[in-house]
Amino acid sequence: MTDAGTTNLAASRALHWQQATITAIVPQTPRVKSFFFAPSHPFSFRAGQHVDVRLTAPDGYSTERSYSIASAPEMKDSIELAIERLDDGEVSPFFHEVAVVGDEIELRGPIGGHFVWDLADGGPLLLLGGGSGVVPLMSMIRHRAAQGSTIPVLLFYSARSWDEVIFRDELMALDDRQDGFELVFALTRERARRERDYERRLDTAVLTEVLPRLPQAPKHVFVCGSNAFVEAAADGAIATGIPRGIIRTERYGG
């Protein structure tokens, strides 16, 4: 036996595939739509976790993808996945062009026990998101808001353009509350729209400028985006003196 250790760890909770019904589809940006799924067996999760989705063709061929959950754990009846349409993709074009409200999709979750945060973990929190990498960070931000927490959180969110900022209005409304949530956008292919925002890529100099928006040094840092973004953001954070050990990363494009 090569996997003799399996049983003692496996006994508690296997992740079963289940049917989930698409209850709403909401366009977020020209390339991103939110899909709301009502699982037949609802499950609790921690902000930052993801689910696996499985699509099966009539001839039995099937394929799977992982998508981070955008909704807060407090939203019980359905989970929101924000899916970016990849032009050469196999699954994301299906969701964008074929899937409709009422369709049933197989999924399982929650998955991932590292890139997760809840109020008990405390803060301040530094969130660095690139493009659709904002999705698991959004779940953390929504969790904090749903709990009425004032834990200081700084979201630095890099997108190509103003119109490609996912959850833009909701983020700006949260920013307006002035309850300890700070929002900085960086647009890489367009001029900045707000005084505090940037029109350049994330680097050490930018991070050094924005970090004082947190009242103390961050306790946890979450970085999510493309590999290039994560490398630049994590290396930049380390160069500002943030300890490597408090930085958690998730890289998209895999």
Binding site: T2, D3, A4, G5, T6, L9, A10, A11, S12, R13, A14, L15, Q19, D52, R54, L55, T56, A57, P58, Y61, S62, T63, E64, R65, S66, E90, F94, V98, A99, D103, E104, I105, E106, I111, G112, G113, H114, F115, V223, N227, E231, A234, D235, A237, I238, R244, G245, I247, R248, T249, R251, G253, G254
Partner: protein
Amino acid sequence: MITRGFTGRQRPPDIAKRLPPGQSLTEDFPVLSAGPTPHIGIEDWSFTLKVGPKPIARWNWAEFNALPQTKQIRDIHCVTKWSKLDTPWQGVLIDDILAAAGLDRAPTPFTLAHSFDGYSTNVPAADLVGGKAMIALRYEGAPLPPDHGGPARLLVPHLYFWKSAKWVSGLQFTQHDEAGFWELRGYHIYGDPWREQRFTGD
């Protein structure tokens, strides 16, 4: 369950048969890791072989590179759903590391691979010997880049790729199967892609 309206992008049979269930072919080489990429200079690099808590052999970069090296072309499968075919590696087989340490076989049934960033992953000893695994030093003929685990990573291509620990610093033989970093966080203790052992209980 058939998904309404989904046909999928099916691969030619000779490719499809090399893709484990749920996996999709990728042409590039995605990067995944739990934290920032450590940049380890070869002057600071070493590889330690342990049995239980006891170190039994240690090599610096030059010494390790002087061990017999082997080239392998292998298909690799990441639990995040991508597979990459015919990836060319070069490094030191675990068999040759054991021989260099004076061991004619694995001293215990299980191992933990340890990395410079604190990562660890468990692999049964039987899955590392007999030419099945190496400490990889080169990819596509060039030194392994830091974001792909350089200076050196474990390569166990027949298991999901999180088992192929990046930035590897040593191998510890253990009496019992001790869960590593991802195995403690819901991922499968063994991780066979052909049995789709992604998560605990699969």
